[in-house]
Amino acid sequence: MIDRRLLKNFDWGIPFVALFISLIGVATIYSATRPVFDIPQQDFYLRQLYWIAIGMLAFIFTISIDYRHLVRFAYILFLIGVILLFAVLFIGKRGMGAQRWIVLGPFSFQPSEFFKILFIVALSRYLSRMDRSRPLGLREIIRMLTLFVLIPFILIIRQPDLGTAIILLLLFSCMVMMAGVRRRIAITGIIIGLVSLPFIGSIMWENLKDYQRQRLIAFVEPEADPHGVGYHINQSKITIGSGGFTGKGYLKGTQGPLRFLPERHTDFIFAIFAEEWGFSGCIVLFLLYLFLITKGIDTVKKARDASGAFIVLGVTIAFSFYFIINVGMTLGMVPVVGIPMPLFSYGGTAMLSNFIALGIIENVRMRRSFMYY
């Protein structure tokens, strides 16, 4: 199935760097969850290792199917995704105040994690088939919003999964912008977006769950109530700041094992890394992520066709957003929305979907045109 010529174009950097990052993640999860009393170590790190293995298999599986087949079945896959989102509202499992999981025997997964990829593929197909000699008009944008965004957005926000819903909206806007929008629409769109933000905010506010509101309050004024809602952000800043330039050293961090930092192995794992490895370690980690994002952007340019370019663009944007929002909230620069750090945070579904996303980049990259100039 895999052509020898394809192997020639295979970029070993993507899987190796991804594996490296995820292994640093495992080490950090191990440190964050190490017990302080005489109880056995929780097996988060082991489970994460299994998921990395599964992720690598998914990566190989993803690169082995030509993305053009994926594009062919894009709409059907999208429909299946929407049905799964429906299903999760009725048969989904509750956890931490939200209904996000579907249980299949021993497995449970979050359909919204995979839905993003299906969404990107479907939207890419739509965009690539359009006449792009002139920028998109308002009518097309509204049509696309109705077709691709409206229903999934409502379904996801009902779970509720604020983070994924926002990512979906941002993803759509960015991809459409990248496809080319009339300048007037782009500018008015951005202005309307910014101006209406408070209004949307207040409408959203009414519909927000209690914990979501608290997170927003905490973001605006983290020191207002150090033991209440601002606690996460404060402790996260303390955790990161206390690392200093060189860090406290691996397994020397205190904020995680002593549980001062909540969600220490999931959403706030970066803080634990920053505590133990310091500023210098963070720079190295940032460079690794930057490497993956750069590979994505480079692949957009090299893709053999428009649909491939759009898919990689979407995947790269999503990956970047996840990284930016997670690190941003850990640093106290973005509200806490419950978005994991890609490849790093503990969580099986996310690990799987990230390796699939990187597999798609590799997939398109391998199948670029064979002409050498």
Binding site: M178, I283, K301, L331
Partner: protein, 594 residues
């Protein structure tokens, strides 16, 4: 704009965000790194005070009066103990409390949800064992072991020993208490207060690492507490016990001094209180009850109560008259039951009068008229001078707070305080221990000591190790002294003596009765208990080389010879029994022969 350009813009934005993140990291980790490091250390490290064991307090024969015992307190960390009704009722059953009470205490608990809230103090060992067995079902439960002060004999000598409490706002500001943890108990009263700096030792510290729920993860460092110094008092527990036994059911005070050293062998004040109430932190209710009690149990009547000494003061009058030569021991006056002065009649307690009477009989029978005659000849200034010489009107130097001086009236005193001149009749009142004159029971015991030991007035003290301090030596003619001693023995031994009830079958006791009027003579219409006279008896024993000087005061006790003298005798007998000087055997023989 081509798509390629737009992608380039996208990559610039990504780079800009990374740059922003790095700036933020630099700010948090490098610029403010040390500050955040400190906060994270404060997060995880706690300094827990380890209370020091207070020193043990012994009596003069090394019998422990106060020591410490471990006390088990049950506390709950609210964060870990979600008030599940089943859990509450389990704990309630184990602690013999109602679930509502526990809930209330949890609700009232201040501080963070991570700091333990005391649910029950001073739990028995059996209860602790039962709780430990169910530990798994009771998360967040903490058994704290704290040393608690144990006043072994309860109320015994409570006014001398004193009690403990949390630091007062003034003590919190006092640099002398700087190294005392805020939660520690310090002495508030009595010896516990005076010698607090010796007794309290130095608290240690335990630096522990805690997790976010406040549970101790490990001990990082430890600074051991230094035990407080043990102290030995001059008190003799047997004498003290007898003194309190004598005052049982009454209000009053007993002081027993060693005349040759100034040591306090016993100091009792009644009613008393139980310092154990304070040891576990007195409840508001108990405290209100103590301070609102009209009988004032917290008052140490031996040093804080000032009363007219009544006829016990005649010792000073007689001594002054002999020393000043206004009479000699053979001088006789005639008592007709009263004497006129300034148009007023000054009566003797014996209305029929004593007839022709000598100084010896005037003392043993406590003739007032004889002393009026002395008073007329001495004048108030010389009486006051002798009173002051023997320690009245001045603090005895005892190591207890709040000692009162009493009043030795003189012309100058009256002019200064009452803005009035002195009347001759007031001299007559003073010489029989009435009027403005007032003294504490301790001052009276000290006075007796100096009279019978050749005029040596010592500083009174309670700490055995304290060096003996001679305040001054009063020149007394040996003849006067031996005459006076003989007369005081006569008070107890003669058939007409007013202190006959102090007679002991096996030790010779000398003394002087006193019956201090609360209401002026002739005004005693109402014979309620509040109007009854105060009973006094001051004493010493044995006749040669006296070893004890005693003063007994019974508030509204009536006649000194009836109410106070027997107490003095019992206390003195207790001293010689405890002393082991062979008299004990005598008494046993005597009792058997009865």
């Amino acid at each position: 704009m081509k798509m390629e350009e737009r992608v380039r813009v996208f990559s610039y934005i990504i780079l800009a965000v990374f740059a922003l993140f790095i700036l933020r990291l630099w700010d948090l980790q490098v610029v403010k790194g040390r500050w955040y490091r400190e906060i994270s250390e404060r997060n995880r490290l706690r300094s827990i005070a380890i209370p020091a064991q207070r020193g043990i307090i012994y009596d003069r024969n090394h019998v422990p009066l106060v020591d410490n015992e471990p006390s088990f307190d049950i506390a709950i960390i609210r964060e870990d103990f979600s008030d599940d009704p089943e859990r509450l009722s389990l704990l309630a059953g184990l602690l013999d409390l109602s679930p509502e009470e526990i809930e209330k205490r949890l609700k009232d608990g201040t501080g963070s949800p991570l700091s333990p809230v005391k649910i029950k103090q001073d739990v028995s060992f059996k209860e602790v064992a039962m709780i430990e067995a169910r530990r798994m079902d009771l998360p967040g439960l903490v058994v704290e072991v704290v040393p608690r002060r144990n006043y072994i004999y309860g109320r015994l000598a409570s006014h001398v020993i004193g009690y403990l409490g949390y630091m007062t706002p003034r003590q919190l500001r006092d640099p002398a208490y700087n190294d005392v943890p805020v939660t520690a108990f310090v002495g508030h009263y009595g010896i516990e207060k005076t010698y607090d700096s010796l007794l309290r030792g130095k608290a240690g510290r335990r630096i522990v690492e805690v997790d976010a729920t406040g549970r101790v993860v490990r001990i990082v460092g430890i600074q051991r507490p230094v035990k407080g110094r043990d102290i030995t008092l001059t008190l003799d527990i047997d004498v003290q016990r007898e003194a309190e036994e004598g005052l049982r059911g009454r209000a009053g005070a007993v002081v027993v001094l060693a005349p040759e050293t100034g040591e306090v062998l016993a100091m009792a004040s009644a009613p008393s209180f139980d310092p154990n109430l304070f040891a576990r932190g007195i409840s508001y209710r108990d405290w209100r009850r103590l301070i609102n009690d009209p009988r004032r149990p917290l008052l140490n009547r031996a040093i804080q109560g000032v009363y007219p000494p009544g006829s016990t003061f005649k010792i000073i009058g007689a001594l002054a008259a002999l020393e000043e030569g206004v009479i000699d021991s053979a001088t006789e006056f005639t008592c007709r039951g009263a004497i006129e002065m300034g148009g007023r009649s000054f009566r003797c307690w014996k209305e029929k009068g004593h007839g022709r009477i000598s100084l010896y009989r005037a003392i043993t029978e406590s003739c007032d008229v004889y002393f009026y005659e002395i008073g007329k000849r001495l004048g108030i200034e010389r009486i006051a001078e002798y009173a002051r010489m023997f320690g009245l009107g001045e603090p005895s130097g005892i190591e207890l707070d709040g000692e009162r001086r009493g009043i030795v009236p003189s012309m100058e005193w009256k002019l200064k305080n009452l803005h009035e001149r002195w009347y001759g009749g007031e001299t007559l009142n003073t010489v029989i221990g009435q009027g403005y004159l007032s003294a504490t029971p301790l001052q009276m015991a000290r006075m007796v000591s100096a009279v019978i030991n050749g005029g040596r007035l010592y500083r009174v003290h309670l700490l055995r190790d304290r060096p003996i301090e001679l305040e001054r030596t009063i020149e007394i003619d040996p003849g006067s002294e031996s005459f006076l001693k003989r007369a005081l023995i006569g008070v107890v031994e003669d058939s007409n003596g007013t202190g006959r009830k102090a007679h002991s079958g096996w030790v010779r006791i000398g003394g002087k009765t006193g019956t201090a009027q609360v209401v002026k003579k002739g005004q005693r219409g109402v014979r309620s208990k509040r109007n009854r006279d105060h009973a006094w008896f001051v004493a010493f024993a044995p006749e040669d080389e006296p070893e004890v000087a005693v003063s007994v005061f019974v508030e509204h006790g009536g006649q000194g010879g009836t109410a106070a003298a027997p107490i003095a005798r019992d206390v003195i007998e207790a001293y010689f029994r405890a002393d082991g000087s062979g008299l004990r055997a005598d008494k046993e023989v005597m009792e058997r022969s009865l």
